[in-house]
Structure formats: structure tokens, C-alpha cells
Symmetry: C2
Subunit: 173 residues, 2 copies
């Protein structure tokens, strides 16, 4: 786990794990892009993360208990999964996205999902956490018949991409 | 303002300003401790921030539009105030505090306010943002007759201090 925290404050405790730009970006890509492997995280990085930074942040996030690492057998790729503590970072991501939407410009293509999460309110965030538990922890969703929030976010993203490019997109990101 | 962002993502935009442990800690102390001057921020720092780090973070937060700096006349101290964009960081602080409360241990004395904000829900957060607007921007609160959330947080803090020390405390922090 972590070394001794700088103080016993709850905000500081979170900041010591999450107060790093690349750690949050890596968690975002695992959470919203379902990128579970090192090479995917590198290849699709919008911010162009460097391999040594990615390697160090994955290691830190595993040590801090936000990710688990499925050690690969010979010839297989290592898979990273969110832990429950990692999944509970989602409300922080939503709060960060809300702030970015309100106070910074950006690309519509990359803002559409943040806007959906803002407008969906606590219910959508809770449903998305349930979907992440299904995907990363194998815990069935409480309402398996409801549509997965990721589908809704993906559809909104693809519509925005079509509007932006006038054509088709692979929808990955 | 900022240099060109690494991507047009709303979460990234927030992370580029706030994805730094000390920036968040400085904002927290201004927000919750109403420390508006350099020397107060140094003297009462729970995490022992260094003077050069504090100076650089205050500068960055002003440049990013989260703080405004009231340039002192000769012999007067510079006062820092939250801007509206800075005040709107409060929900991110609350989300960070919620995570820290759930996933890390800490000192009861320093956790009591995070717990109150968690349990008060969106209404308490909104009321506290109104109080920050009054304090930092001079905008009267919409309901001036309701008690100030800071009083409630302060009272809870002092009760926790008494419980922890069995005596009196100055209540500052």
C-alpha cells in the first residue's frame, strides 16, 4: 500500500493517489474506453502517454489498490481490472468532467460523453458503476434487462463523430 | 491562460489544472480554512507545504483562472480569492473526500468535515458554494437568513477536537 500519508485528511488521502494527471488519464481510459492491456492504452491514448509513464502509473495504481493485475501466463497479455476502490473513482471523474465542460473549451467529439454523464445525474453514474462491476469484477448487474450505460455513451459518441467528420468512425476512444 | 491542452477531453482539461497534489491541497485550504494570505497558508498547512511549492501553485492557479490575486499596496498583504471557476471545484473536493473516507484511514479530527459534506448531499454543497461566493466574490447569499454551512462544519470540527483531545481547541485548520 501507500507510504505514510502527509496528513490524515480524507481529501489529502484521495489526492495522494489521484492528484497526478497521468494516473487520472489512465484510469479514465480503462473506465470509459475499456482498455485493459498495456498496448491498447498506449496505442489509443488521446494525450500521447509515454510508455515509461504508463508503466509507472499502472504500477502505482495497482499498489494503491485501484487496479488489479492479472498476471499473464507465458505468451499471454497482462490484463488490468478496476477494483471496487477504482470503480468508485467514477464520481470524481464525473465531477472533473463537469468542471472541464463548464470552464474549458474542447473538442465536441471528446466532450459528448462527459455531457451525457453530467446530464444523466446520480442514477446514470450508479448504473455505470454497476456495469463496471460486471465488466471488471464479474458481479452481475442488479437490473440485467436495462440497457448498459456504455451503449448509450458509445451511441452518443458515434453520433458526434459522424456530425464532426461527415462520415463513419470506428467509435473507439 | 493555459498552454495548449494535451487533448480536447473535458476530463483532461480539468486534470491539466487540478491533477497536481499541491494545487488541490492549496485550493482546499483556501476553500475550507478561508486562508487568504501566503503566510496563513504556510503556517497552518497540515501537509507542510514548502514555500516555493506554495508560491508556484498560487501562480498557476491564478494563471488558470481559479484564483484571483488582489495586488497589495505597499506594506499590505496580497489577498487570494476564489473565482467562480475556483468555487466550482467544490464538488470535485467533495467527491475526493468521499473516496478518501471510503477507502483510506485517517484522523477523525480531519475527516469530520468531509463526512458532513458527504452526508449533507447536493443541497449542502450548493449552500456552501453560495457562502464561498459571498466570501470571495461579494455576492450576497440567496437565503441570507439560513445559517452559514461553514458554521456547521466548524461546530462539527470543534466537537470532534474536543472528543479527540478531551479539551479545548482553537478550531483553526
Amino acid at each position: 500500500m501507500d507510504p505514510s500519508p502527509r496528513s490524515g485528511c480524507a481529501i489529502n488521502a484521495a489526492v495522494e493517489v489521484l492528484g497526478d494527471p497521468w494516473s487520472l488519464i489512465v484510469l479514465r481510459d480503462i473506465m470509459f474506453g475499456n482498455r485493459r492491456h498495456f498496448r491498447e492504452l498506449i496505442a489509443h491514448s488521446e494525450e500521447g502517454i509515454a510508455t515509461n509513464i504508463l508503466a509507472s502509473r499502472l504500477k502505482q495504481l495497482v499498489a494503491a489498490g485501484l487496479l488489479s493485475r492479472d498476471d499473464a501466463r507465458r505468451g499471454q497479455r497482462v490484463t488490468y481490472s478496476l477494483t471496487e476502490a477504482g470503480i468508485q473513482v467514477l464520481p470524481i471523474m464525473v465531477a472533473l468532467g463537469n468542471w472541464g465542460l463548464a470552464h474549458r473549451d474542447g473538442e465536441p467529439r471528446l466532450r459528448v460523453r462527459a455531457a451525457l454523464l453530467r446530464d444523466g445525474g446520480p442514477e446514470l453514474v450508479a448504473a455505470m458503476m454497476d456495469e463496471l462491476r460486471e465488466l471488471h469484477l464479474g458481479i452481475p448487474r442488479p437490473d440485467p434487462d436495462t440497457p448498459r450505460p456504455s451503449k448509450q455513451l458509445q451511441a452518443a459518441y458515434q453520433t458526434a463523430m459522424r456530425d464532426a467528420t461527415g462520415g463513419l468512425s470506428d467509435g473507439d476512444s
